[in-house]
């Protein structure tokens, strides 16, 4: 047995899905934390400064390459596994058990993943492309020039269709995570009699909490809400 066999066996392919999935979950936490600046007082400056740091720090830019690799691996491996798994039963059942024996979202990871992918493409076109390749307005804080990514968010989320699309994206993400986190733990062999309930519950809380915070962002922007924290702000 060698390394390539470890990652190409049926279990190995799942381990790749689990590891990249967990990496993407960690990314979600960072993304959520940075973006949470927009909820509080002095949102524009704090968020733009945080975005500037994320966009210019060399370590973070290198990690960004890893993030792209993680996304691409997770997406391609996911589709490949879906096709391989579908091919294991050429003759389909006339009647299936459906929700009687398993949860619909555990059987629909490819569909939910595709919805997230479509959302991701729009999302990158909205924010990542202009911040990397130009097209953002600029603002000045203390003599230094920053991209006004906050202004871009304001513009994008002044359109109701964008708010609805982002809410649907967060909704798909929540269902995907609800199965994904628990499934990754199981694939990596972390679950046992004692840990299974704890891991499942942590997964449920995460899957609801993080997408809910993300979903609130376009809503806050659209309605122009702000949580008044005075001088105390999240500032990255």
């Amino acid at each position: 047995m060698n390394w390539s066999q470890l990652f190409t066996s049926s279990i190995g392919k799942k381990i790749v899905m689990a590891l990249t999935g967990i990496f993407l979950v960690v990314f979600l936490v960072v993304h959520c934390y940075v973006n949470a600046n927009i909820f509080f007082s002095n949102a524009e400056e704090n968020f733009n400064r945080a975005a500037h740091f994320m966009g210019t720090n060399i370590l973070i830019r290198i990690t960004e390459l890893g993030l792209f690799a993680g996304f691409i691996l997770h997406i391609f491996q996911g589709y490949k596994l879906t096709l391989l798994n579908r091919a294991t039963r050429k003759s389909r059942y006339a009647v299936t058990a459906g929700n009687k024996t398993s949860k619909w979202y555990s059987r629909s990871m490819a569909l939910l993943g595709t919805l997230i992918l479509l959302f991701l493409i729009v999302h990158l076109a909205h924010f990542w492309v202009p911040s990397r390749f130009g097209g953002l307005k600029e603002v000045e804080y203390g003599g230094q020039v920053y991209h006004n990514l906050y202004g871009e968010m304001k513009d994008v989320f002044s359109q109701p269709w964008a708010v609805i699309l982002y809410l649907l994206g967060c909704f798909s993400l929540a269902w995907h995570l609800l199965h994904g986190i628990q499934s990754a733990a199981q694939t990596l062999g972390w679950t046992n009699k004692n840990f299974m309930p704890m891991i499942t519950n942590i997964g449920i809380v995460f899957s609801i909490l993080v997408p809910a915070i993300f979903a609130l962002m376009p809503v806050f922007m659209y309605f122009g809400w702000e949580i008044n924290t005075g001088a105390l702000t999240l500032l990255f």
């Binding site: 190995g12 391989l84 294991t88 009647v95 058990a97 046992n192």
Partner: protein, 255 residues
């Protein structure tokens, strides 16, 4: 519970051989007792068909007491029918009511080719066991079982895993036709006990390699297998199998 009789309509998968495309045929079965088993109900239908000079429905069965794992069929989308923790032979007709239409199909998976009608060839499971699901023993007198101490919780888990009858309901229930619950039960049962421990590294690698070769799918943790298993084997065995596999791959000799 009161006995009752029922008239049913059966949609049964008929397939001449492994090459035939197969199709459903509809049969009326009347005056079925609520106390018959599902297999006995098919026996009644088959008796009638034989008397009429028709080809009876082929299905596997052996012990008819829920321990051999032969009676593979999918009843209304459920391997071994609607009752939990039950094989088809232990499924009684009181699970149904008068006038029900019941769809009966074989276990469907490329790795389990249909032999005829509801009979499938589950030789793939035998080949997985042959790949490593055993303990090598030297000849000579058997050692007294009680001379080897085993912790109570490990003995319990090993026993629960060993109750797998290899019926294949897990494969039939899985949307990916994955054999992970079966393999995990066999790997767990031996890996947990001191007798199986010395060979556990090689065993898990060989059994997974054979499982992949047979064309079973990957596990996506929907846990439909656990819900359908007549012996209620826990999916925590799959986590143990994944652990054993990772451990075996990352440690020891790399050939």
């Amino acid at each position: 519970m009161q006995h009752y009789s029922m008239n049913l309509k059966l949609n049964v998968w008929r397939q001449k051989n492994s090459i035939d495309a197969g199709h459903f045929e509809t049969y009326d079965v009347n005056d079925i007792s609520s106390e018959m088993s599902f297999l006995e109900m098919i026996d009644v239908l088959n008796e009638r068909m034989i008397a009429e000079g028709k080809s009876p429905i082929a299905f596997d069965h052996d012990c008819r007491e829920g321990i051999c794992g032969m009676c593979s069929m999918v009843i209304d989308g459920r391997p071994h029918g609607p009752w939990e923790g039950t094989t088809t032979c232990q499924l009684h007709m009181r699970a149904f009511k008068d006038g029900d239409v019941i769809t009966v199909e074989p276990f469907r998976a490329n790795a389990f080719p249909v032999v005829k009608d509801l009979m499938v060839n589950r030789g793939a499971f035998d080949r997985i066991i042959q790949a490593g699901g055993y303990v090598s023993v030297n000849t000579g007198n058997a050692v007294d079982g009680n001379s080897i101490p085993v912790e109570k919780d490990k003995a319990d888990d090993a026993f629960a895993a060993a109750s797998c009858i290899g019926c294949g309901a897990c494969v039939a229930a899985c949307k990916n036709a994955s054999a992970m619950l079966f393999v995990s039960a066999k790997v767990s049962h031996l890996a947990l006990l001191p007798q199986g421990e010395p060979e556990k590294r090689q065993r898990v690698k060989s059994m997974i390699a054979q499982m992949d070769k047979e064309g079973f799918g990957s596990c996506t943790n929907t846990y439909a297998c656990e819900a359908e298993c007549p012996k209620e084997i826990s999916v925590l065995n799959i986590a143990r199998l994944n652990r054993e596999y990772l451990h075996s791959s990352l440690s020891g000799d790399f050939e």
